[in-house]
């Protein structure tokens, strides 16, 4: 990896790296700081040392009914990821372990569905949802979120599964393992890390998806993306409260992202970059 360099160069590189890192992190840091300011402090100029009030969090939670969109975000992202996994684990498994000439084509075709612009099918989906009474329902959004992430889920799982040596399964079979034993003791331990990474990354993608969630929900099933977007209406600026709501909205995913950054590269590039 990194080679030994002179202390002077190391000091300069360190300083520069920290400067850039802080610059990029600044909007997030400033949001967190603003969330514990009073509203007056929030608009009275640059200030990194707030008065540490938690009234914004209390206000967001009580008056704005924050927990409903939060629960919706959890439901939608976990629900859609769970359904996507149930459908795609067998598919990716089959493609990785008994590939045919067409497997690559099928995978490419699946990925190509991501090239379809969401907005091109907005009208029919909206009308269908209206007629089927699926607008603003959890079921409808889980289906959409599942479908838009399905190609990525299949690809990611395929990438992970392909790296499992097939001999492991054959060896287990030779040793006379039953199918059940094979699944529990052989398949699960080797497949689980890949499935877990896929799950994490898809929760992140679903949590942050904004086009469909904003357009197909109003109140009942609206997740945090729609809730935060509703703050954009010009009726007064509540920056401290907005910051508190934003901090709560991004914190879980931010922490999840920190822990899964290594898998993120492999997962999102389908192992093309190592």
């Amino acid at each position: 990896m990194a080679r030994a360099i002179s202390p002077r160069r190391k000091a300069i590189a360190t300083l520069l790296s920290w400067a850039i890192a802080l610059l990029l992190f600044f909007p997030i840091l400033y949001t967190i700081i603003t969330s514990v300011k009073t509203e007056v402090e929030a608009i009275s100029g640059f200030n990194l040392i707030p008065s540490f009030t938690f009234e914004n969090y209390i206000e967001v939670e009580t008056q704005r009914d924050y927990w409903k969109p939060f629960t919706n975000s959890v439901l939608l992202s976990i629900g859609s990821t769970f359904v996507a996994l149930i459908i795609s684990v067998p598919a990716a498994w089959a493609m990785a372990f008994s590939p045919t000439k067409r497997t690559k084509d099928v995978l490419m075709w699946m990925l190509s569905t991501k090239m379809m612009p969401s907005v091109a099918v907005l009208v029919p989906i909206y009308l269908m949802f209206r007629d089927l009474r699926l607008l603003d329902t959890h079921f409808g959004l889980i289906a959409i979120l599942m479908l838009i992430n399905l190609p990525i889920v299949v690809w990611m799982l395929y990438t992970y599964f392909r790296e499992i040596p097939g001999e492991i399964l054959e060896a287990a079979r030779m040793d006379g393992a039953t199918l059940w034993n094979e699944i529990i003791h052989v398949l699960m331990p080797v497949a689980l890390p890949g499935i877990t990474s896929t799950m994490l990354l898809n929760i992140i993608l679903a949590w942050n998806e904004a086009f469909w969630t904003i357009r197909l929900t109003t109140a009942n099933a609206a997740p945090l993306t729609a809730f935060i977007a509703s703050f954009s209406s010009p009726q007064g600026l509540f920056w401290a409260k907005l910051s508190a709501a934003s901090t709560l909205a991004i914190a879980p995913i931010l922490i999840m992202g920190w822990f899964s950054q290594k898998q993120l590269v492999r997962g999102l590039t389908f192992g093309a970059v190592k």
């Binding site: 612009p117 091109a120 904003i214 910051s243």
Partner: protein
Amino acid sequence: MATQHTKGLSRLMIAPSVVLLLIWMVVPLSMTLWFSVQNYNLLNPGNVSFAGLLNYRFFYTDPAFFQSIWNTLFIVIGVLLITIVGGTAIALLVDQDIWGQGLVRIMIISPFFVMPPVAALVWKNMIMHPSYGVLADLARFLGLQPIDWFAQYPLTAVVLIVAWQWLPFATLILLTALQSLDGEQKEAAEMDGAGAGSRFIHLTLPHLSRAITVVILIQTIFLLGVYAEILVTTNGGPGYATTNLTFLIYRTALLGYDVGGASAGGIIAVVFANIVAIFLMRAVGKNLDR
């Protein structure tokens, strides 16, 4: 190895994904295609008639149309330029032996996990606001006139916000690629007296080409559909200054209730996305063959 039995079983295992994605693609797209040749307005839903290609004509003669194509390209190319050049520079910097590397990486990757509406609102209100934003404070501190970003440079402002969100992704991918570069090769080049500049051009850059290709492909897919950042900052304006193709179609559909027109726009967007895809595949796709 694959017997008839396992073949049948694996088809059965793959079928649900294929069928669902096929339905997801074919049904709404054919509806869009059908609506696009109809006179169909939700304000007057009883009065639907065949319109031929009239919707297409209206859509592309709309003064906003070419502006929106231009804005779409400006966003895609602008963000790609910033993220790839910036991402390479930051990756090269962070790849070195520095103190606190873990924390630096965590800070750099963070913006990627911020949901688009939050990113847009934070930048709009707390960073770029002409009187209360941090940039305005900085400008006044330096004795300069604060910039009213969303009035003076609205499209640039949108590009900056979107680039901030995607810079971490590019950096992380490029950093990963850099770390797989063989250290011995670098040392050998150094021994041969290659300067930092020529080492970068002849050794590092070719090694990164695959990673750069991946970054371009993935980001382009997402950048063509930028929506929330525009919705919460400028709402497409002022005028049509920040209206991209996605936003124009959304506006036609859900604000004008013009199903026919929006559908024609949708079909144009599909064609446009596919032109970009083919162009991308030909220009950079060769890199991805193993």
